[in-house]
């Protein structure tokens, strides 16, 4: 919110050309500078650590100047020992269907609740919004038993090299399957996505829907050919947000997957820890590499992010 108002404020207030340096402004900048350093410090520290060998830090401590010089060996080790490409692929297999399904379902609910008035309009919307307030951790134990007792068809698998992607399920259960992970993400993100999309759809006048109806389009057609194209900015914003949410997930993959090789990249970072020995430098390198995709997505789709934050903040 703060960013959004700042952006909006900057646009409205044109700065005068010959302005003087006020003390208040200097204090503000000093403060901002300090906060920026505070935020960047852990990242910079992780980067520093990841560029040093374990032997170097073991001999001289973490707070020391690197004597062996900086190297990229940790990144190299992570790429090979961590089997990085496999885990990135796992993440994609979960995130892409997850985001797509969430957007389809959420836009359907939002469409019905905003474009048509019926009795339980608000109730349904509130139900979906209320779902956001539920902490997922509460559900872990029952979900585990539901997952281990839900039969899912086994329809063979697609094998690419050492990687095997089971169609639906490879153990006849929902447990330990990508599909189970996708479903739980869809369930937990649909609430938020519905909330945001319905706020956006409220700004679309109902006359559009009505004229489409008059032209003979059925409800499905209106949703697909009229409303969804109009919602493109909102969908793009939601897609980027959902991507980061699902990408960042550590928790569900840890509980609902049993097979170590099926884990997405975030949870796979855990694989770098051994029984006794933990190479913190290697983990720092791994964490930084795992950070890259969301950062890239943010840089490329910055505009959508900001519009995503302000979605529905004004009433249409």
């Amino acid at each position: 919110m703060a960013t959004a108002t700042a952006v909006a404020g900057a646009r409205i207030r044109r700065t005068p050309r010959g302005r003087r340096l006020k003390p208040a402004r200097m204090v503000l900048h000093a403060f901002l500078f300090l906060v920026a350093i505070l935020w960047l410090f852990p990242l910079a520290w992780a980067l520093f650590m990841s560029l040093r060998t374990y032997g170097d830090t073991a001999l001289h401590g973490y707070i020391s100047w690197p004597t062996d010089g900086l190297t990229l060996t940790n990144y190299q080790t992570f790429w090979t020992q961590g089997e990085l490409p496999l885990f990135y692929l796992n993440t994609l297999l979960v995130v892409i269907p997850g985001v797509t399904l969430t957007l389809i379902l959420a836009s359907m609910v939002a469409f019905c609740c905003t474009q048509f008035s019926w009795k339980f309009n608000l109730t349904v919307l509130m139900l979906f919004t209320a779902g956001n307030l539920l902490p997922p951790q509460v559900l872990v134990v029952p979900l585990y038993f539901i997952y281990t007792h839900t039969p899912i068809a086994m329809l063979g698998s697609i094998d690419i090299g050492s990687f095997s992607f089971a169609l639906f399920s490879d153990n006849n259960l929902l447990y330990d399957q990508y599909i189970g992970l996708i479903l739980i993400h869809v369930v937990f993100q649909t609430g938020f996505a519905t909330f945001v999309l319905s706020n956006y759809m409220k700004t679309i006048t109902k006359e559009i829907t009505e004229s489409a109806l008059v032209d003979g389009a059925n409800v499905f057609r209106i949703w697909w050919s009229v409303i969804l194209p109009l919602c493109r900015p909102a969908l793009a914003a939601m897609a980027t947000l959902l991507f980061t949410f699902m990408y960042n997930d550590f928790f569900w993959a840890l509980f609902l997957l049993k097979t170590g090789d099926k884990r997405p990249i975030t949870t796979a970072l855990n694989n770098l820890q051994g029984e006794f020995f933990v190479n913190n430098n290697l983990i720092a390198a791994g964490a930084l590499v795992a950070c890259i995709p969301p950062i890239l997505v943010y840089i490329v789709l910055q505009k959508q992010f900001i519009s995503g934050l302000t979605l529905g903040s004004t009433k249409g």
Partner: protein, 469 residues
Amino acid sequence: MGDSREAKRVAARLQARSLELPYVGEVPLNLDLSRRDMLKIAGYGSLAAFLAACGSTSTTGGSITATGGNMSLGSYGSDPGSKAGVKAIVDAFTAANGGTKVKLNTVDHGTFQNQITSYLQGTPEDVFTWFSGHRMRFFADKGLATPIDDVWNAVKSNYTAGFEASIKGNDGHAYAVPTDYYPWAVFYRKDVWAAKNYTVPTNWDDFKKLCEQMKKDGLTPIAFADKDGWPAQGTFDILNLRMNGYDFHVNLLTGANGQKWTDPKVAQVFKKWSEITPYYSPGFKGLTWEQGADQLLRKQAGMYLLGLFVSDEFKASGKQADVDQLDFFAFPDVGSQYDAEKALDAPIDVYMVTKKSPTLSNDLGQAKAFMEFMAKGSTQVLYWKNAPGSIPTANDADTSQYPALTKKAVDIVSKAQKITQYFDRDSRPDYSGPNGMQGFLLRFLSNPTSDTTSLQKDMQSFWDSLPPE
């Protein structure tokens, strides 16, 4: 904003329309498709079952094991060395057992341990890696492990009595095959000791005198690091074993025979312990075991009581010269009648067969063949080559390749009359954790010289508050 009457009219029309939405009619078609799919699936399924049956018919008559076929293995060996070791074992097993296909699932060590209860109750693999001691008996009692007496009878001639005792459940059945172990001892650097003319202390007074001398020489006498809570339990174990004996220790840790934490013998342990706490590393509450090992590595500390895995840290530092300097001695005698037991912590890692694996009914023969394979010295040496911190347990393991440090470790364990598994493997998990013993020991260590009566009372009341296992 449209006319509200108009909106209602549209809504009414919409409701009327939705009753005759065309895709309602698609449902039976869908059902039809899925029924056909089901038939197809059933067909493939029975074909697969038929093929699988063909594959596993090569069972030799009367034998408990089977060749060919499939089995699955859940492993917590996530360290690079362990991972390579398990992979080598699996490949060797496949080659030796008529091409049995092993599906290996490696999960990082911490997660595997944390989720073990749900793992064993859910859909575990046929065989899994675990620990001996109370932790093994606990799951055996709960009926989550398959007894393997037949396998054990076939391989027990390859093990000493100490190992046999470690894999027996409370019901007397064998539940595991021990595959490797490592001892706890006092580690030091040979070069530092040679430069200062230190000698290995054999009794408590010499040990304290040595600490005093090291302090004078500007060293931290005993490296100590307890950020993670569990390392301090090693000191408690060895002191309690030396002062009060094996039987008392086991009774205390399991609450057997009415043994209580308020016993004055426990107070004696704390009192003895407080005599060496002044020689510990400063700020040990914030140090991980790796940082403690670094103090030894950097020649800042003189001694370190830890498991053989301390050598991992020396290796990770990247210099073989440092690894070569590492040596250890058994914890000194304290002048009690139990010194003669030479008891020590030597945790044993084992392989077990699960109970609830969905594939176990098909794979039991292969799983048992794998367990027999694990009991061979040659198999264990294969693992040891990749993970040298873990010593093979089988009698027929080829010891000629062992470096001096490993030979010495074998020696001190074989001299011990009693072997324990380490506090958190010998006691119940909820008691040994951060809310229990780990926390109590940290409390003791923050004020070691004070009276421990109230601490022991709290330890006992926490024990009493735990639900029955």
